[in-house]
Each structure stands twice: as structure tokens, then as C-alpha cells.
Amino acid sequence: MNTGHEAAASAGPGAARDRLRFQRIDFALWRQEIAPLWHMEGAVHLVAPLVNGYGQLQYCGREIHARVRHVPLAAELDGVRIAWTSIYNISDEALRLRGIYVLPEWRSNGVGRAIVAHAISLWPAGFGRVFLYARLGNVGRYRRWGFEIVPGHVPRSHRTGIEGGQERIVQMMLRRAVAAPSGGGDAHAPGAARWLPP
């Protein structure tokens, strides 16, 4: 894993987000890299490529393989990976962000917001809603990014989410037509939708 914490931190946080490079990586590599950050080193196999999220996934049967486009992403700064996320379509109209992780020394620098903006920007505007499950401690951050708690949804327990000692999560939603998080570089602006190759 090429995280290189110390080297990356020495580069300075200044305009880090402007120097980010986003990279689509294989899921096998994605989960290999993110598992230790989630304290799941011994259970990498439990990091599934897709999770249903309490009924989010509207595809069923073999549609899931045929129609879901799963995109694991990483953000590199000066050749060192410092952030990860993944995104996939849960229907023909909505997306789910699954897993947003920024190395601790690079937090509060706009890195998470930038990789999320990039992830969303990869999809056509027809995918008008973006969902995520947020641990309660992160709700304020995601609100600043334009997400809101889904009406009628309240914090619920999380089956294996003991990271950080928080066991409550809540579903949040971003309406792309209304608001979208502003990302790092212009090339990754939310409006610059590009369809992913299959």
C-alpha cells in the first residue's frame, strides 16, 4: 500500500486539493488498502464490493451484475494515495457513495469533498440523487457538502460499524439538481458529467 503518510504530510496541506489526482482502481486493491484503515485487516473478505444499505439497491437478480457500475476511486497527492471512496448506481436514477476515507493528516483540507465531487461528476445528470450512510459525527460535514438527512429516516444501529466507537448511522441524500459539492480542480466540477466506460 502506497500511502506514505509521512512523505505526504511533509508536502504541506496548503493547496493540497488542487494537486489531487483521482484514479479509478480495482476493487481488490481498493479494499486491500482501505481495510486496515477501517480496522478490518483480518477480515478483508468482508469488505463486499456493493452493500445494499437497508433496501437502497433497486436492482435484483442478475441485473445487479449487468447494470450496476461500481467505481472504486482513490485520490493521489504527489504520487501518494491519501483518500478513497467508491460509488455505484442503486437504480437508473440514483447513486450511492460507499466509504469515504481520508488519511488523518490530510483531513479538513477539502480532500474528502474533492474526491466525492469527482466521484459524482463521473455520472450523467440523470442520476439526480446521491445517497450515503453517515456516522453521526460526520453529519455536519456532509451537510456542508450539500447532503441532508432523508426525511423520515432517523439514526439507526450499524451492524459492524464500530470504527471510532460510533454505532449510529443515518442516511443522507444530495439532490444534484439543487446542490452539489464543489470539488477541487475545475476538471472535476460536478457539472462535467462523463459516462464511465463499462
Partner: protein, 353 residues
């Protein structure tokens, strides 16, 4: 456990186009076994071709169709309603059938007295344990109770009907750990990878038989979903509040469905048929050993009910399509559900929010 005569009349028998109404697989392979942890489990259901005739009638039709395909059947009874109803119906329907019941170290559910020829197999727990570890490798499943059903089936001399299966529904809106309604009703059919372990074992052993009688025809699946008990469960779930909290899954509704369809039978959860605490403790330890020998088999596949019901010819109750409003629609048809262009599915434990 003994069975009283059936109160429900024997249905008129007509030829039925049976199975496979239900398919499962991993990535591109249908009816396959898992070859790697990265493979994704999927299930799918064929659309109905006619209106269902109610659960009791559809169950009997499926049984007749299965017996016609297999020639004769040996019901490997594990104490559950699938085997009990089959054993009770077979003589009334004139099907060539007999019952096999299992005892481990002298204990086990008593052979049901249904008028069918019956034989009892006695085995030691040690013998079962040895079998179970092989089952874990063959079926890719570390569930000792599934292995117990397979162990019974392994003693069958005729094509076997496993006393196995259920149509399990779940309301994602309920947080069962906190005991709260955490979101509007979001109902789904649950297909655990473990549910088809017995199917995989039968195929691996090249043993004729069936482990999914409750999924034999689309109309039988439809009849279960459309039973009064299932409809009441759906209505309660959509209503929210205390009504929804009473039932995270349709466990109680399934029992009510069986009792209404076959009121003369005393039905039980198969696990309740093995009440000995020491035996159940050994089963838990065995499951742990099996999972260590063969990790995996823990994934789930959910089919949203609002998508499953229409292809089965069933109306979607008011309020049950809120998922589609929130999460978006899928441009597809019943045919697409049955004949997806590519295979594959995923599921699994929520590893991270």
C-alpha cells in the same frame, strides 16, 4: 409430532409446468457453487403465467409436479412444515412417497404419522459431525442446521424432498437492534446464500431431489406472498409505528399461513423440533468449526417487493413503492428479471457505512 387428517380438501390435479421458477448462482454461473470469496451471489424468480390458486392448492400442485418429475419421492423430514405437509398430502394425492426421519444419538423429531411408509435412521453425533465438515466443503456453507437436513437427505434411497426452505420477507425500515422504526417501510424478499446450500450439496453429490419446493413454481411463490397472513404483514409494515415494530420479518406470518392452509397439521420451526439444549449447543460449536473450515456463505440477496410482486401477477399495496420514489426506478420488465443479459449479484454484511 403427529399429524391429524388434513382439513383442507385435496385440490383438483392438473399438469403444472414446474421449475425452475427460482434460480441462484455466483457471478455468471447459475446453480453453481462458490469458487472464490469475490464471487457475488444472486437469486431470481420467473414471472407467473397464471393467477395463483391459493397456497394450499399451489403447494399440492407443486408436489404433484415434483413427484411426476422425480418418479417417487422420499421426504427427508427434519421437523418442519414443508416435509410435514408433503408427507400428509402425498397419500391423499396418490403420490409414490415415503418418509425418512432422523435421530441423532437417539433423539430427534418423531416420525410423522401420515399414512405414508416411514423409516427412521439412527446416527451418532460423531458421524453427523464428520458428514457436516464434508458438507461445508461441498456446499460452501458453515451452517450446521443445513448440514443436518443434508445428512437426513444423504440417507434417502429414493429421490429426496428436503424438508427445507421458507419465503422470508424483511422490513428494512425496522432497526431490530434498537427496536425502532428507523425509516419508512422498505420490504424485500430475503435470499441468504445459506438457503441454497442444500441445493448445492445435492448437485455436488449428483443426488436427485429438491430442496426448494416452496419456490417450485412462480404461482406457489405468488400464493405465499399473497396469503392473507403475508398481506396483513405488509399492511402492518407500511402502517409503521407499533404495527410495524411487531414484525421485523414475516416469521409469524409464515406460521399463520401454514396453519390456515393446512389446519389439521401441527407445524413447527424445524429447529424447535430439536429442543435438547445440549444438542443445540453442539450444533453451535459445529457451525463454528464448519465456518472455520469453509468461510463464506454469509451473503444475502434482497429483492424489493415492489419489483417482485407485479411479475408474479400481484398488486403492490399502497405505500409499498416508496423505495422506488426515493431510490429511483429501474427501467426493466418482467422478462428482464427472468432473463438478465449478464449474470451476477452482490450482497454481504455491511462492512462500512
Amino acid at each position: 409430532m403427529s399429524a391429524a387428517p388434513l382439513a383442507a380438501p385435496a385440490p383438483a390435479i392438473e399438469p403444472v409446468q414446474g421449475g425452475p421458477a427460482f434460480r441462484f448462482g455466483f457471478d455468471g454461473e447459475a446453480f453453481a457453487s462458490r469458487r472464490s470469496p469475490a464471487q457475488r451471489y444472486w437469486t431470481e424468480y420467473a414471472p407467473a403465467s397464471r393467477v395463483h390458486r391459493g397456497f394450499a392448492a399451489e403447494y399440492a400442485l407443486a408436489l404433484v409436479d415434483l413427484a411426476g418429475q422425480l418418479g417417487r419421492i422420499e421426504v427427508a423430514w427434519a421437523g418442519g412444515p414443508v416435509g410435514l405437509a408433503a408427507a400428509a398430502l402425498a397419500p391423499r394425492l396418490g403420490l409414490p412417497a415415503r418418509v425418512l426421519s432422523l435421530a441423532i444419538d437417539g433423539k430427534g423429531p418423531p416420525t410423522p404419522m401420515t399414512g405414508l411408509p416411514a423409516r427412521r435412521v439412527e446416527a451418532s453425533f460423531d458421524a453427523f459431525e464428520s458428514f457436516a465438515l464434508g458438507f461445508a466443503r461441498a456446499a460452501g456453507c458453515g451452517n450446521a442446521w443445513a448440514a443436518l437436513s443434508a445428512f437426513a437427505a444423504s440417507h434417502a434411497e429414493w429421490p429426496v424432498l428436503a424438508d427445507h426452505g421458507e419465503v422470508r420477507l424483511l422490513n428494512h425500515g425496522i432497526d431490530e437492534r434498537l427496536g425502532i422504526v428507523a425509516a419508512p417501510a422498505s420490504l424485500a424478499l430475503v435470499d441468504n446464500e445459506a438457503f441454497t446450500a442444500l441445493d448445492r450439496w445435492l448437485r455436488a453429490e449428483r443426488r436427485p431431489g429438491e430442496a426448494q419446493l416452496l419456490r417450485w413454481t412462480p404461482e406457489l411463490v405468488a400464493a405465499q406472498l399473497d396469503s392473507p397472513a403475508s398481506r396483513a404483514w405488509m399492511a402492518d409494515s407500511v402502517a409503521g409505528g407499533a404495527a410495524a415494530l411487531r414484525a421485523w420479518t414475516n416469521h409469524a406470518a409464515r406460521g399463520a399461513m401454514w396453519r390456515r392452509a393446512f389446519p389439521g397439521l401441527r407445524h413447527a420451526d424445524p429447529r424447535a423440533a430439536w429442543p435438547d439444549p445440549a444438542f443445540r449447543a453442539r450444533m453451535r460449536r459445529l457451525s463454528l468449526r464448519m465456518r472455520r473450515a469453509r468461510p463464506g456463505c454469509s451473503t444475502q440477496h434482497f429483492t424489493p417487493l415492489h419489483r417482485l410482486l407485479p411479475p408474479l401477477g400481484l398488486e403492490v399495496p399502497p405505500g409499498l413503492d416508496e423505495d422506488a420514489r426515493l431510490y429511483g426506478r429501474v427501467g426493466t420488465t418482467a422478462a428482464a428479471m427472468a432473463d438478465g443479459a449478464e449474470p451476477g449479484a452482490a450482497g454481504g454484511k455491511e462492512a462500512s457505512p
